[in-house]
């Protein structure tokens, strides 16, 4: 099953449960995503509260789309959506038994994630250079905190996906289905990270 010889054999690690129809890992990742919905939901709710209580928004005038870099963020949106597609293709490659294709598509997913982070790096440093920090006012506080936490989740996804690309591939040799399930679960997480961005982009940059 796994590298740890001392693990007890846990049922439904790979074969789905007869009633729920899913293996343990998939159930677990969905539960984790439920908690993440509550996390980002709380942040979005806080944004709504802060924004509606403010006399004007952005507090120092202008429009969100003028303060923040909409073209760069649009590119980032395309980057993340594409990375979700490559993630699905990575999983599909596993299902088709093609580990070489898996490596290509997963590699593309990780690369695109890095592109996202690099673009965010440029966005952030540009703001700092202009003297705009989270402390400048609540518009920036919300922007940096929400996109920052999202960025941390992107980094988390990179770590997981890179593991699956490297050390994790050992599992392919002993238990293909188990490995494929792991890729699927990582994919579900990655789609969620993408989905959060799809909410962040319009609500921070456009509205």
């Amino acid at each position: 099953m796994s590298a740890h010889a001392a693990d007890a054999v846990i049922p439904h690690t790979v074969e789905p449960h007869p009633v729920t129809g899913i293996p343990n890992g998939k159930f677990g990742i969905w539960l984790f995503l439920a908690s993440e919905v509550m996390l980002f939901g709380a942040l979005f709710s806080s944004y709504v509260l802060i924004r509606t209580q403010a006399p004007h928004w952005p507090p120092e005038g202008g429009l969100s789309s003028e303060i923040l870099n909409v073209p760069l963020a649009t590119v980032n949106t395309a980057v993340l959506i594409t990375s979700s597609i490559t993630m699905v293709l990575a999983w599909a490659s596993c299902k088709m038994g093609r580990i070489d294709r898996f490596r290509f598509w997963m590699g593309a997913t990780v690369a695109l994630a890095f592109v996202f982070l690099v673009i965010k790096y440029f966005e952030y440093t540009h703001k700092f250079h202009d003297g705009h920090f989270p402390s400048t006012n609540n518009f920036y506080a919300v922007y940096f905190t929400l996109t920052g936490l999202h960025g941390l989740h992107v980094i988390g996804g990179i770590v997981v996906n890179t593991f699956l690309l490297t050390a994790g591939t050992r599992l392919w040799k002993t238990d293909r289905d188990h490995f494929t399930n792991r890729v699927e679960n990582a994919g579900l997480y990655w789609h969620f990270v993408d989905l959060v961005w799809i909410f962040l982009f319009p609500s921070l940059y456009l509205l």
């Binding site: 740890h4 010889a5 001392a6 693990d7 007890a8 054999v9 846990i10 049922p11 439904h12 690690t13 449960h17 729920t20 343990n24 890992g25 159930f27 677990g28 539960l31 984790f32 439920a34 908690s35 993440e36 509550m38 996390l39 980002f40 939901g41 709380a42 942040l43 806080s46 509260l49 802060i50 209580q53 403010a54 507090p59 920090f133 989270p134 402390s135 400048t136 006012n137 609540n138 506080a141 940096f144 905190t145 936490l149």
Partner: protein, 589 residues
């Protein structure tokens, strides 16, 4: 009896010959173990240590309340000049003791013991599983908890001491208090929350996916149902507090103003922050977690009480399905009552009516559950074993705690009682002679399962009676302090006339608290000394639930062949049988 016994060693996690494992090195077997039983014990022992530490903080605090401004003999000088100058407690140290007592007891004591300890150890056994669904995530959750706890305690040693803005940590106070201890509190909370989230995912998947053959949902012991609902509360309620902690970290470290309005003047100086935030936003996010959190504190305890009552009345629980549905309804309702903690913040009539109504509604399932437990005594043959003493005492104690929530949940009466000692008495009755007594019941009850030995019953009875008397001596007078109008969190209650008039109660309470501490000594002695006893029979309580099918202690993997379940969990005193208990896992009819 059961085909699932092996010839495993009696040592903790002794290895199972059936799987052909290599022997693990000590640190993989007992430190970074993935076995739910070892992890459960790690949680339980760590949590008990933190519980006693949190209790010690309160005992120190009670000196100042009983004898305001008096130097504390011997110990006072040992605590240093900044905390206790000349042996007299400083007000900021008093506030640290208060804030950390609450934080440690709730997040590092009760929940890790009730869920991480009892849940981890017992749930897989009670459902016939070899371990939790994700053993390595289980290990990770303990190793997030321990550093979080250590970080919390270490904050006492930072300049300015530990957090001192209440366990509720309301800004702006928590943000204008510039000590590093306040920041560390937030980071430690992130670790503790992470631990809970990982654990809750594990519990839900385990309970749904890993039940033994024949173990349908309505054949589960109520303990498992209670842990199941608790896990959903942890999973969904904690993230908003994590979000709030992140925002408060940003306010403290990046000078944002999520919770700070503009124009603050602190100690005569303009406070330099952009403003535009709201202190009430923190309160909403905090209480969105903290209300479900109190049901996290009580549900596992109700689960333990159910097991002990069924076992010691020798008859099935009364209203089993009612109990299950009530627990689920309670869990659901717990998400929509949170603002009853905020009635005095300037809330309008619409919002307060909503929350008063939901608060009244949520009292119903609690009343149902208590009634089912009391009805379970009727027609029984009650054995007053030590676990049963604690479980029985739980019932009136929880009744007092729960009932006294009513005047607090009604806004008009809350005007007078809010932030008084009445509140402290209310919630302590539920958690202390409520939950903690249930946890003691669980320790005495499952000790033979974990160790194969029995705790000394005579010492247990001494522990029970002394604890019962002293704990009521601590908390009952607090209701009267609240009725007299005495506010909570006061370093010196004798500043006010209404405090001076009843200062005698503070002396009574403090001496009861110190007596309560002494009453724990027989327990601590018993806990360790009993390990040297002779081994007892398997299933010494003659229980019907699945955990007693495995050897005591169970080997790695718990059951050699997965057990099968044939009947409901509490088949005691079935007519026409030679024994008064019919285990779930016994093949014969």
């Amino acid at each position: 009896m059961s085909a699932s016994k092996t010839h495993g060693h009696a040592a903790h996690g002794g290895h199972d010959a059936g799987h052909g494992h290599h022997e693990l090195p000590f640190w993989r077997k007992y430190v970074f173990s993935v076995d739910h039983k070892i992890i459960g014990l790690q949680y339980a022992v760590t949590a008990l240590v933190f519980l006693f530490f949190g209790f010690t903080l309160m005992m120190l605090l009670r000196w100042q309340l009983a004898y305001p401004g008096q130097p504390l003999p011997v110990i006072g000088k040992l605590l240093g000049e900044s905390a206790m100058p000349g042996g007299v407690m400083a007000p900021e140290f008093y506030n640290q003791l208060g804030a950390m007592h609450g934080t440690i007891m709730v997040f590092m004591g009760i929940v890790p013991l009730a869920v991480g300890g009892f849940g981890n150890y017992v749930v897989p056994l009670q459902i016939g599983a070899p371990d939790m669904a994700f053993p390595r995530i289980n290990m990770a959750s303990y190793w997030a908890f321990l550093p979080g706890g250590i970080l919390m305690i270490a904050s006492f040693f930072l300049p300015g001491g530990a957090a001192q803005s209440g366990w509720t940590n309301y800004p702006p106070l928590s943000e204008v208090t510039q000590t590093p201890g306040q920041t560390v509190w937030l980071f430690a909370m992130v670790l503790l929350i992470t631990s809970s989230l990982l654990g809750s995912i594990n519990f839900i998947v385990t309970i749904v996916q890993l039940r033994a053959k024949g173990l349908t949902f309505f054949r589960l012991p109520f303990f498992v149902h209670a842990q199941f609902v608790t896990s959903f509360l942890l999973l969904l309620a904690f993230p908003p507090l994590e979000a709030a902690a992140v925002m408060q970290i940003m306010d403290r470290l990046a000078n944002t103003s999520f919770f700070l309005p503009a124009g603050l003047v602190v100690s005569g100086e303009q406070w330099h922050a952009a403003g535009g935030g709201s202190p009430l936003l923190w309160q909403h996010l905090f209480w969105f977690l903290a209300h479900p959190e109190v049901y996290v504190l009580i549900l596992p305890a109700m689960g333990i009480v159910a097991e002990v009552i069924a076992n010691n009345t020798r008859k099935p629980l009364w209203g089993y399905r009612l109990l299950v549905y009530s627990a689920i309804f309670l869990g659901f309702m717990s998400f929509v009552v949170w603002a009853h903690h905020m009635f005095m913040t300037g809330m309008g009539t619409t919002m307060s009516t909503f929350f008063q109504t939901t608060t009244m509604i949520i009292s119903i399932p609690s009343v149902v559950i208590l009634t089912c437990f009391i009805m379970s005594l009727y027609g029984g043959a009650i054995r007053y074993t030590v676990p049963m003493l604690f479980a029985t005492a739980f019932l009136p104690m929880f009744a007092i705690g729960g009932l006294t929530g009513l005047p607090l949940g009604l806004t008009a009466s809350d005007i007078y009682l809010h932030d008084t000692f009445y509140v402290i008495a209310h919630f302590h009755y539920v958690v202390a002679p409520g939950t903690i007594f249930a946890l003691f019941a669980g320790i005495y009850y499952w000790y033979p399962k974990v160790t194969g030995k029995q705790m000394n019953q005579a010492l247990g009875k001494v522990h029970f009676w002394l604890s019962f008397i002293f704990i009521n001596g601590v908390f009952m007078p607090m209701f009267f302090q609240g009725m007299a109008g005495l506010s909570r969190r006061l370093y010196d209650p004798t500043i006010y006339a209404h405090g001076r008039a009843i200062q005698g109660l503070n002396v009574l309470i403090s001496w009861s608290a110190w007596g309560l501490a002494l009453a724990q000594l027989p327990f601590i002695w018993n806990f360790f000394a009993s390990l040297r006893h002779v081994k007892v029979a398997e299933n010494p309580w003659q229980s019907t639930t699945l955990e007693w099918a495995a050897p005591s202690p169970p080997p790695h993997g718990n059951f050699v062949t997965p057990p099968v379940v044939y009947r409901d969990p509490y088949q005691y005193s079935e007519p026409g049988r030679s024994t008064d208990f019919h285990p779930q896992f016994a093949r014969e009819a």
